[in-house]
């Protein structure tokens, strides 16, 4: 078998194993290992697995995900998360899909304190998902808005993906950060409109809640005290330079414990439950990551990505068509690869091509990061969806993917808008 054929056989194997009920991470790891061993050698595959797993187990940047999870579990266990949604229900619940819109807003806000898509999705999944379900939201809409909301964060600084792109291409990280803001806000608006449309088509997706008087609304605000204090602590700490976004998880978790204990919302038992749930969720996420990284190594040596890149490079189409092709390559690769693997593999090859064709490096960066994030919510391999499904195991994966579909369509429009009006991306960095 040629490497490319092996790659396709591997993909078919992967999807069969997943369909037959093998845990997703296990399947990716197994197929990745066997494929790598077949293409290179058994010994090489063993060494690769060893390197990848130890690298992942000591990766500080990804390693802070458990602490963000801890914070989320404390918010959940102490009922602070519920309070926040009670307030949202009070103010926005009357509107169809209001709580899902609030989730998009909260995800965007949280994204300003987090550099990672997975951390945002997991946190909002713990806090927002149970509340939307309690208010009788359709699980697809509820989970779809959480998974999609998690992708906004990459556009809003600080953004881990922009830093990776900046370092890979030597593009100004400051400009990338500035360039992401307007598209990020636009995307949040697009997602909210999507929710409104979904609810118009299916009014039961996000049912109207009861009506509250202004007085009740104002009283309800008292409940948000804890969250506001916590948010100001974390955001303020980052903006004032007390700690880095990577450290924010630990500070947030610690702050959540303090705030919840002071308000007598957290007893010993609840705290214990929160920390053990954190361990469980961490294991679930890293179970997928371990497998995904081994699988990425396999896909790399199948040369499927290189072949696709080669095809685009030598296609000889007009610059704009080439750019569109490249973006669709990300959509295709994104179906099976995770975001940062996709970037490191393809950017060094695409970047010179794109800049030679006269496109702006910052614009390309924003578009690519956007495409890699969309990949997190498209089937069959969509990390945000997997993570969410781990947090809410009773929701079938297919339902979540169904829920992300309208958001993926909104994403397509959003990208088209950025392509049509690059000024939306390039204006802020030019100031």
């Amino acid at each position: 078998m040629t490497p490319v054929v092996t790659g396709f056989v591997g993909l078919i194997g992967l999807f069969s194993l997943i369909a037959f009920g093998m845990p997703i991470g296990f399947a990716m790891g197994l197929v990745g290992f066997l494929g790598f061993a077949y293409l290179i050698s058994f010994h090489a595959a063993i060494i690769k697995v060893g390197v990848v797993t130890f690298d992942l187990s000591t990766n500080y940047a990804i390693g802070t995900v458990p602490l963000f999870l801890f914070m989320a579990h404390i918010l959940f266990a102490s009922g602070i998360g519920r309070d926040l949604y009670d307030v949202a229900a009070c103010w926005l619940g009357r509107r169809r899909g209001g709580l899902a819109m609030a989730t998009i807003g909260a995800s965007s806000g949280f994204a300003a304190a987090s550099a990672s898509s997975i951390a945002t999705t997991a946190t909002m999944g713990l806090v927002a998902l149970p509340e939307m379900r309690k208010h009788n939201y359709d699980v697809s809409l509820a989970s779809g808005s959480v998974a999609a909301g998690g992708t906004i964060g990459s556009l809003i600084p600080p953004s881990g993906m922009f830093i990776i792109y900046g370092i890979l291409t030597e593009t100004s990280i400051g400009k990338m950060f500035a360039a992401g803001i307007i598209p990020g806000i636009l995307l949040a608006l697009f997602y909210m409109v999507t929710i409104a449309l979904v609810c118009r088509i299916n009014p039961n997706a996000g049912p109207r809640g009861p009506k509250y008087s202004l007085r009740e609304k104002l009283v309800s605000l008292k409940k948000t005290g804890e969250v506001i204090v916590l948010f100001m602590l974390v955001m303020g700490g980052i903006l004032l330079g007390w700690f880095t976004p990577t450290e924010a998880g630990a500070m947030g978790a610690f702050g959540a414990i303090i705030v919840a204990s002071l308000r007598r919302r957290l007893n010993w038992k609840a705290l214990q439950e929160a920390i053990y749930s954190t361990l469980k969720t961490t294991g679930m996420i890293f179970g997928i990551l371990f497998g995904a990284l081994v699988f990425n190594s396999f896909i790399t040596v199948t040369n499927i990505p290189l072949n696709i890149v080669g095809f685009v490079t030598e296609s000889g189409f007009s610059p704009f068509v080439v750019l569109l092709l490249i973006l669709s390559v990300y959509l295709v690769l994104g179906m099976v690869l995770d975001a940062s693997a996709m970037m490191t593999l393809t950017i060094p090859l695409f970047f010179p091509l794109v800049t030679n064709l006269g496109f702006d490096a910052v614009l390309f960066g924003v578009l690519v990061v956007r495409m890699t994030e969309i990949a997190l919510i498209t089937p069959p391999v969509g990390m945000n969806v997997y993570v969410l499904s781990g947090i809410a195991p009773d929701i079938p994966l297919t339902k979540i993917f169904k829920g992300t579909l309208p958001f993926v369509m909104a994403d397509a429009l959003h990208v088209a808008l950025l392509l049509a009006f690059p000024i939306l991306v390039l204006w802020l960095p030019s100031l």
Binding site: D55, I163, I173, I238, W242, P352
Partner: protein, 312 residues
């Protein structure tokens, strides 16, 4: 011969660009008999364990960084620290290559691979966010992102070295979690530090040299002699090309810094010397540890220091 090449660097990086030119040259000089497929940016090989990965045959050739290994390859990994105080990369490279010829242990440590090129790091300096450093006393109380090797020296002058991951460094400088970073001119542009620092102080932190490109030994042995000869003939070319590209990147970094309004501060020679001295004891300690393991640590240290005194 279809060979694979893997590098943790991207093609926009000076090292990656040198590799690209080298690959083209090899393919040309072997009249296309050697065809190389390259994998950039850590997609196939890591920097911490790249030597082992190459040895295991994960790629046929690779950019290796034995200096970033967490253990093993003692001479390759630890002796670059002996070059403290050096400021001319070309000189470092010359001295280092001399050592490689004199002490076969360097090559023996990398027994599973065949070395095809060397790399020398351009010196790193102090880049600061808020306040200038004119004398070493100004270092007191500053929080500086630094490689592990420099943390001890910074501490001598009351500064805190932070071994933060590079990806976190930009936002940390932007928001003031850090006061500064130890990085080369090149990083002003390539890592965008020029946007977030005000001062560039030319306090040198030499990085030494290391064997940086290699081929899996079994693959090497399988090649006919005439092809091997092409690779051997290009060792110096690749090494020089790499240095050339690095120096160009230095200039680009400087230019970007000027454009961003960075103030360049030249620190007095006496201060540089005082700073370099703080590395003496730790270098000696490393050398003695190597001696204990039966490696020529002190001998190499002596030679590196002498070469520094006589010329640089």
């Amino acid at each position: 011969f279809n060979l694979t090449y893997a590098s943790p660097y991207s093609t926009t990086h000076p090292y990656g660009a040198a590799d690209e030119a080298w690959i083209e040259r090899i393919e040309e000089q072997t009249n296309g008999r050697v065809d190389i497929t390259a994998y950039w940016g850590r997609s196939l090989i890591s920097s911490r364990e790249g030597v082992d990965e190459l040895e295991a045959g994960i790629a046929d050739m690779a950019y290796i960084t034995p200096i970033y290994a967490t253990s093993g390859y003692e001479l390759n990994r630890l002796t670059p620290a002996f070059f403290y105080g050096y400021s001319d990369p070309a000189h470092v490279l010359a001295v280092y290559q001399q050592l490689w010829e004199e002490f076969p242990t360097f090559a023996e440590e990398l027994g599973g691979v065949r070395v095809l090129g060397f790399n020398v790091g351009t010196p790193m300096h102090l880049q600061l966010r808020d306040d200038p450093v004119n004398t070493l006393d100004d270092l007191r109380g500053l929080r500086i992102r630094s490689a592990n090797d420099y943390i001890g020296a910074l501490a001598e002058f009351g500064a805190e070295g932070v071994a933060m991951p590079m990806g976190d460094t930009y936002p940390a400088l932007q928001r003031g979690v850090l006061d500064g970073v130890i990085a080369p001119y090149e990083a002003l542009k390539s890592l965008s530090f020029g946007e977030v620092v005000e001062y560039y102080v030319d306090l040198p932190h030499s990085r030494g040299a290391y064997a940086s490109r290699a081929m899996n030994q079994a693959v090497w042995d399988s090649l006919p002699e005439d092809i091997q000869a092409v690779f051997l003939d290009n060792i110096d070319w690749l090494t020089q090309k790499n240095l050339e590209n690095s120096m160009e990147a230095e200039e680009e970094g400087k230019a970007f810094g000027v454009e961003q309004g960075v103030t360049f501060i030249e620190i007095a020679a006496s201060e540089k010397e005082r700073y370099a001295e703080t590395f003496t004891s730790s270098a000696r300690e490393v050398a003695e540890n190597l001696d204990e393991r039966g490696l020529p640590g002190s001998e190499i240290l002596e030679q590196v220091r002498q070469a520094h005194q006589t010329s640089d």
